[in-house]
């Protein structure tokens, strides 16, 4: 199958892959039928005309995407289309002209005779213009009567399918045999083969409900969520890393993957599933799942070191707009970033209005609270956690006070010629983050990736501390704790070249931002309580002079520096001066017992500092606050374009869908988010919006039948493929909504249809098969069930199932399959970012394999895993010799073939362990989940004999190679 309709590109360039049925979409009008504007005319106009005569450009004054423009007088005075009058319609003259100066389209192949005929007939018949099918309101179509359907149709799906078949003069397809059917459905629902017992049970069950029982069992299987979850993960371009140079890990991304699997297994209504992912955090009482679901916004690629931050921010938001538009609406809204959409009626303004729903989202930045959130089972769990944290802080403060007290005593009595230099005892656990870039004022460092991080052992704000220091264009964030000796008023002074900001216990104490020299310190006085208070200092340096001077004074002490002294910088040692002084003079000043007492108190404190309150975390969305900045339409999509007031947009839904203005309640002043995403999510699943139900019903159909009713499952626009069964699609969409958006009932309805149970292969019906192939080579009418190859994951998992190594363990952090060192060699640091997993862990389902964007597990990549960087609605199915090389020679296959052979030897039973025929039979039964024929066994035994006899392979190795051969069979890799 192809992803999108990629072979429909303009011009000469078509790509033919080996695909089931065919690689090329042919003109659908191979049979005489009335012209259908939506199916025959509009897609043709969209593909061949709109780029010059569409929503964005109207050359010669012609606009072919709406009737008014198409029938209006042109610049030349003539009219492109005059309904009912072919002779007066200029378009017909142009598309049939042989004059290169006037013929249309001017580039690419000429329209085919069939296409010209369709346009001619359509004009002749009155040029009826219908709204594009996807934008029409969703109404429930009438199910065709049994007579029209040409037979008995208990299931409404079959009524639609049979009516379509009858229209083409085709009859109802023969049904697949039970073995093929249970294999098809088990893979389709769970992604795994049926067990031999399951097949036997089904074959033995002659009851009328036998099939329904199988379907119910499959839909109740936890394997269902893993298989269908993977389909969803393809759409949202799930990965565990960010791509680009560092390809760093996304913390806790796997919880989003598990959330998807659980949601599907729980048959969570799709509307709730959508709302949770887009705005779960804004729900009235968000659950953990609702927060984890918002990890949706964190799944894309992320450049932590962009050349142009503003450009990257909008590239990143574009990725969110593109993904959201395609996944939920089936529209390529992203095509309207730089100009009005060339094909679909989506003005550029609509793009930015949609973007404004997301414009307040914080970037990935450094991780931390911006993207991570603690997860609690319930309120009690949260309270317990918060109490533990509060208790720990209380104990730390207490211990700190004890230490501070003794240190104060020491300072008060300590006399030293170097006392003025004895600095650095007032901060604790100081760490730095070092950044490089050019700024004019302090950036939001938390949104940026630090180049360097580490501890500041001198416990002083020291702008020379980073190992990768450079003279200009850098920044620091220092964080640590201020040791407050007693309750009282303290005065802080801050001076810097260039900007700086001092924050204590979450409040800004002093700020001295911008480009300037030193000499005008800012100061502030505030009341503090004794203990340990979080302190933070932000600093940036542009060019030329630099410096940072921070000091404080308080009860009983004059100004003491908190920053490194210029003069002392090189001497800054491994400890703070105070610590060194106490080590040297502590016993003298505090007495032996006093010093001992002090050491004990320090020890207590250090122990408490190491104590942690463990908590699980999720990867989540956050916003910059309740009030978003304004969003503007950018001229030609350039984020550096002038932000003119007339280009300001506010959140709005796509105008083509004629939705009401979004209602976004003004958030409370202390709200964490704007509420915009909730408005978007609710509109997506509201009854006003015909697209999401159509899009989702179509995706469900797609994964059962190998293609959607609309083949371009993420493009319902005019460049997409028209539905082969528009009424069926709308019926399924209304059914989805009527069933409270639950997917499992829709699955069941589909699986119980005759259409789903149709045979893929032909036997005695070969004649009818050939006839149908002639009438409908692309199987547009579902006259048979299309065979399909296993997906990459299904293939790898099936190999594990056959070998017996398969582990059904669900959920948790990603698993690392062994990657050959030749592949690792492509990394700049071979092996970096990849872990070791036991062979047992590796035998878990592939959906649990860690997805590292720059290092994809070879067998999965070979068999067309979804691209990790962009939303993938339909996977490729390529057939290439490199796949065969991996399957024949690869480490993974040979390892599994050995494990498989051991299993076969074990299970072949019989008194004689080397009973080759029994082993051959067993291997075939296991892998193909059907009885082996005597002829097959005979051929297998002959192969083993020959390997052993003529090719000099040991008998046990010969059986391994036989097992390897079985895993390579087309029958193993393909479903009927």
């Amino acid at each position: 199958m192809f992803r999108e309709n990629f072979c429909l590109c303009r011009g000469l360039w078509t790509l033919t892959l080996a695909v089931v049925g065919s690689g090329i979409l042919l003109s659908p009008a191979a049979f005489a039928e009335p012209v259908d504007f939506s199916r025959d005319i509009q897609p043709l106009f969209a593909k061949r005309c709109f780029s010059c005569h569409g929503p964005d450009t109207q050359e010669a004054g012609l606009r072919l995407d709406q009737i008014a423009g198409a029938t209006a007088a042109l610049d030349s005075g003539s009219r492109a289309i005059v309904p009912g009058k072919t002779a007066e319609s200029e378009i017909l003259a142009r598309i049939t002209s042989s004059d290169p100066n006037t013929q249309m389209p001017p580039e690419g192949p000429r329209l085919t005779a069939a296409q010209v005929d369709a346009i001619t007939r359509w004009v002749d018949e009155g040029a009826e213009w219908k709204e594009h099918w996807a934008f029409r309101p969703l109404t429930r179509p009438v199910v065709p009567a049994a007579a029209d359907a040409g037979g008995d149709a208990a299931n409404p799906i079959d009524a639609f399918i049979l009516a379509g078949l009858a229209q083409r003069g085709l009859s109802a397809p023969p049904q697949a045999d039970k073995t093929a059917l249970i294999r098809r459905a088990t893979y389709g629902i769970t992604g795994l083969p049926p067990t031999e017992q399951e097949v036997r049970d089904f074959l033995a069950d002659d009851s009328a409900a036998a099939w329904e029982k199988v379907v119910d069992r499959l839909l109740a299987s936890p394997r269902y969520g893993e298989q269908w979850g993977r389909h969803w993960l393809d759409l949202v371009r799930y990965a565990d890393t960010n791509s680009f140079e560092r390809d760093g890990n996304k913390p806790h991304a796997w919880r989003y993957r598990d959330y998807v699997i659980r949601s599907l297994n729980d048959d969570k209504p799709y509307d709730q599933f959508v709302i949770e992912q887009l705005a779960g955090d804004e729900l009235p009482e968000p659950t953990n799942d609702a927060f984890i679901a918002t990890g949706y916004y964190r799944l894309g690629v992320w450049d932590d070191e962009p050349a142009d931050r503003e450009q990257f921010r909008y590239d990143w938001l574009d990725d969110i707009v593109a993904t959201t538009g395609q996944v939920f609406l089936g529209l390529t809204v992203n095509c309207a970033r730089c100009h009005d959409h060339k094909i679909d009626p989506i003005p550029q303004r609509d793009y930015y209005s949609m973007l404004s729903f997301f414009d307040n989202i914080t970037p990935m930045g450094n991780g931390g609270d911006q993207i991570e959130r603690p997860l609690f089972r319930d309120d009690a769990d949260r309270q317990a956690y918060e109490e533990k944290v509060a208790d720990l802080n209380r104990r730390r403060n207490e211990a700190q006070r004890a230490v501070n007290e003794i240190e104060k005593k020491f300072r008060d009595s300590w006399e030293s010629p170097n006392q003025a230099d004895a600095v650095g005892g007032d901060l604790d656990d100081l760490t730095f983050r070092f950044y490089r870039d050019s700024w004019k004022s302090l950036p939001v460092f938390d949104e940026l990736k630090a180049e360097d991080t580490g501890s500041v052992l001198s416990q002083l704000f020291d702008i020379a501390v980073a190992p990768s220091l450079r003279p200009d264009n850098f920044g620091y964030v220092f964080t640590g704790f201020l040791k407050v000796p007693m309750d009282g008023d303290y005065t802080f002074s801050l001076d810097s070249d260039d900007g700086s900001r001092l924050t204590i216990d979450g409040s800004v104490v002093a700020e001295y931002d911008g480009i300037h020299g030193e000499g005008k310190p800012k100061s502030a006085t505030l009341r503090l309580q004794a203990g340990r208070l979080p302190i933070r200092l932000d600093y940036f340096q542009g060019q030329h002079g630099k410096g940072l001077t921070v000091a404080w004074s308080g009860p009983g002490f004059g100004a003491r520096t908190l920053s490194a002294l210029q003069s002392r910088r090189k001497a800054a040692g491994k400890d703070s001066d105070l610590k060194k002084a106490i080590a040297a003079d502590g016993e003298r000043i505090l007495g032996t017992d006093g010093k001992k007492h002090y050491d004990e108190k320090v020890k207590v404190l250090e122990k408490l500092k190491k104590e942690e309150v463990p908590v699980d975390k999720g990867l989540v969305v956050t916003e910059r606050g309740p009030t978003p900045a304004d969003t503007f339409v950018f001229y030609r999509g350039n984020p550096h374009a002038e932000k003119k007031p007339e280009n300001k947009v506010s959140p709005a839904f796509l105008s083509i869908l004629k939705a009401k203005e979004p209602v976004i309640p003004t958030p409370a002043a202390d709200a964490k988010t704007s509420g915009r995403r909730t408005a978007l999510a609710r509109w997506l699943v509201s009854s006003d919006n015909p697209l999401p139900a159509r899009v989702m019903a179509n995706r469900i159909w797609q994964h059962h039948f190998g293609r959607g009713i609309v083949r371009s499952t993420s493009n319902f626009g005019m460049m997409g493929d028209p539905p082969t069964h528009p009424e069926l699609l709308d019926w399924l969409a209304t059914e989805l909504i009527a069933g409270n958006w639950r997917l499992k009932s829709l699955h069941k309805l589909i699986l119980l249809s005759q259409a789903y149970r149709a045979a893929a292969t032909y036997k005695e019906e070969a004649f009818a098969h050939a006839e149908a192939l002639k009438v409908d080579p692309l199987n547009d009418s579902f006259w048979r069930f299309d065979m399909r190859r296993l997906s990459a994951e299904e293939l790898r998992d099936s190999i594990h199932v056959a070998s017996g190594a398969f582990s059904p363990k669900m959920f948790g952090p990603g698993v690392y399959p062994t990657i050959p060192k030749e592949v690792m060699a492509g990394q700049s640091k071979p092996g970096a970012g990849w872990g070791d997993s036991s062979s047992e862990e590796q035998a878990r389902r592939s959906v649990y394999a860690f997805v590292k964007r720059s290092l994809i597990t070879p067998i999965l990549a070979d068999f067309d895993l979804a691209d990790t960087d962009t939303s993938c609605p339909v996977r490729f199915t390529t057939t290439q010799p490199t796949q065969a090389l991996g399957m024949l020679n690869g480490e993974f296959l040979h390892r599994q073939a050995r494990v498989f052979a051991e299993r076969v030897r074990r299970e072949a039973g019989g008194p004689d362990a080397a009973d080759v025929p029994a082993q051959v039979r067993r291997a075939l039964e296991i892998a193909l989940v059907r009885p082996a024929t005597d002829a097959e066994v005979e051929r297998g035994v002959a192969l083993v004999d020959r390997l052993d006899d003529a090719d000099g392979v040991s008998p046990s190795r010969a059986m391994e190679l036989f097992c390897l051969m079985v895993l390579n069979l087309n029958e193993f890799a393909y479903l009927d």
């Binding site: 590109c9 690689g23 791509s243 050349a307 730089c338 200009d472 065979m787 192969l943």
Partner: protein, 505 residues
Amino acid sequence: MPSSHDHRHGQFCHRTRREFFWEAGASFTGLALSGLLDQGFFARHGYAAGQGGATDTPFANPLAAKPPHFAPKAKSVIFLFMYGGPSQVDTFDYKPKLYGLDGQTIEVKTKGRGGEKSQGRVVGPKWKFKQYGQCGKWVSDLFPHIATHVDDIAFIHSMTADSPIHGSAMLQMNSGKIQSGAPCLGSWVNYGLGSVNENMPGFVVMLDPTGGPISGAKNWSSGYMPATYQGTLLRSKGSPILDLAPPDDMPLEAQRTMLDALREANTAHLLSRGDNSELAARIASYELAWKMQEHAPEAVDLASETEETKTLYGLENPRTADFGRRCLLARRLVERGVRFVQLYSGGAHNDDNWDAHSDMEKNHNFHAGNTDQPVAALLTDLKRSGLLDSTLVIWGGEFGRQPTAEYAEGTGRDHNSFGFTMWMAGGGIKGGVSVGETDELGSAAISPGPGHGNGDKPGFHVKSLHATVLHQLGFDPNRLSYFFGGLDQKLVGVEHVEPIREVLA
């Protein structure tokens, strides 16, 4: 042994083996498997081959050779990727004024890893330049061998890129976009042209012995295109391609026997599924794999090369042996029809590649010394065999370097995407020309004026280099497109981009 040996002389043995061998030897892009496809049945019942594309092409090889838009000048590309960013003012962009400014702090706008600066301390070029060839091209002492080929080379001195940061700049030089997820130049070439040798991958990447470039496989990814078009890593020693060699405990004889049995079983399976081209294609793909196994190792076997050739490439010199070997392999691959060969000079991080942040001389002497003779040998060898006419050779990194120092001390230079040098030779490129200029410091492009993929700024954008490559291969770069995400995606992007006409012969 037990009873299994009773089957030794069963029907399978010795009956089908030779027949299968015979069929396996036939061409697989054509109708090799037609005998297996039950076509007679469809013919008898009036199904005309070709209607659905289902039965007429059993293996619709997506890499089958395809004609370009117009008659091409080049058939293959060898991209010598100087990863890390060589300094233009120390190599091919002669800036005599810069020597005298050494150590002086001057006003100059730069942007690199160390952010934006408006002034900096000049680091004078560390090598002398001499004039070479009929064209009188100035080349630094770093490249005495390449310098002898200047009359075959077109230098582009005002290249620009959108990013001075390795990660995104590498992506752009390879895929045109600074964002992750787009197909690489080699993928586009194979998508457009296919391959004339089905025994070899069409897009081959050979890495530096120190490791891959940063972002690894993203640099040869096919992005949103099928994996068919992604680059294949080729090792210059041992088994060249992953999984090409069967493991030791599967002798070729045994593998062949197994393949025959596999084919027999798959053929039986094909009955009653005869119109499924994918099944037939998969059968064919195993025979193709067999042929690759046989023929691909030959491509990397240098036994048939003369001593003179090996010496030419510097294979006897430990400094040049590795890159020389890879350059020689590049010629052999091109001879065998591989469309796009990419060689990395430099790998991993820091001074393992051309990223000279601290000491220009140490870094560039090392990397130029490893590659100068091999690159020159490649040009010599391609020329004398006539291959240079149809082989486009590209030399350059993801960006260049600044004329000023990065740190307070030392001679290191920071990244520079405002202006840098690349060169091309062969494949219909005019020799002995230099196009585009940087300012007198070599810090930024000043000519040609706007209109070369650069918006309103001067210089030749990476896009115009890509357009030139596609043009030489016979494509209109603004028409070679791939429909994805609702758009006709192009390597050169949405805006119209011209090839660099000044370098076309």
